[in-house]
Amino acid sequence: MTETTIPKRGVPLWVQIIIWVFIVGLLALVGVILSKRQQGTVQPGDAIPDFRLPLFSGYEYEGRSEVKLSDFQGKVVVLNFWASWCKPCEQEAAELEAAWKFYEPHGEVVFLGADYVDTEPEARAYLKKYGITFFNGPDMGTKISQLFRIRGVPETYFIDQNGVLYFVKIGPFASVNEIKSIIAQKNP
């Protein structure tokens, strides 16, 4: 009786290794992206990396059309994300401006407005309508909002004198006193 062996053929080992490495790499990449998305906003205690905010004309800081977070070292920074199309932002506009007017003469607290996904004519109309005078500019390329991983507007971030985030307010402020009480944690 003659024995015939069936030749065993399949995908070569090196191809299998490449495919598996590729699949694992792809899954890792998807995992990293998903975990970043699930992270939520930056958390109190996080040191905030330096960022640049161009300012609208008429809203410059000491004559400069662009500011960096590091320019305000030693001061409490109140960074407010807003947009002209955002209805809840309108609820807190007057409160923010009133708080700014309260702190402006002392120079220890700085208010920055980052205009999120907006068009300049509407943004300017909004600032004029609510009489806002603190430093304001567009979040160009949504870089700052991505840095803070904001979920929407309005959101306000309180950064201490050392550039460390110490409070996050999601949604509009109910009163000027609410803003003052948060600032008072670092600027009694």
């Binding site: 003659t2 053929r9 495919i19 990449l29 996904v117 907006d118």
Partner: protein, 163 residues
């Protein structure tokens, strides 16, 4: 008379020139022209909704901005670049071919090619196996004559006995 004719011709030409430029400036882009660009953009606020059909206030403002830019004579590419500069590359329906974005363009054809390769190899393996097994069974049947088969012999004997 000749002087009057020349003056009139000059005035007519001048007024035609101004009328032409005024018409060009007054031309308001249509919704279709705006939407042709808007459908290539996505507002970061309303994910997965193209700008041309997005009902939010933010998107309405963006469409108006496109209309204004078109009326100012900006080209489609210039408008798209403006939106990328102001709101980031993620507003584009078709991501730019840079960095990790390349994966979007490379992965699908690579996966299709790899799948076709694996399928081809598997088919070859299956057809090889079936051919080999048919050859093997033919060889076996040739190597085992019916007379030598004990079972067949017993069956034939039993049939004979029944007769």
């Amino acid at each position: 008379m000749k002087k009057l004719f020349l003056t009139l011709t000059f005035i007519l030409l001048l007024s035609a020139l101004f009328a032409g430029s005024a018409l060009a400036q007054d031309k308001v882009p249509t919704d279709d022209e705006v939407n042709a660009i808007a459908k290539q953009l996505y507002c970061p606020v309303c994910e997965n909704t193209p700008l041309d059909v997005c009902p939010t206030e933010a998107c309405r403002q963006w469409r108006e901005l496109i209309r204004t830019q078109l009326s100012q004579g900006m080209t489609e590419d210039q408008i798209k670049q403006y939106f990328v500069d102001n709101y980031g590359a993620r507003v584009l329906a078709e991501p730019p071919r840079t960095g990790l974005n390349w994966l979007i363009y490379i992965l699908p054809p690579v996966i299709i090619l790899a799948g076709a390769f694996i399928l081809f190899r598997s088919f070859r393996e299956w057809t090889g196996r079936s051919k080999a097994s048919s050859v093997l069974s033919a060889e076996r049947s040739a190597a085992t004559p019916p007379a030598e088969d004990d079972y067949v012999a017993r069956l034939e004997e039993e049939l004979k006995n029944r007769k």
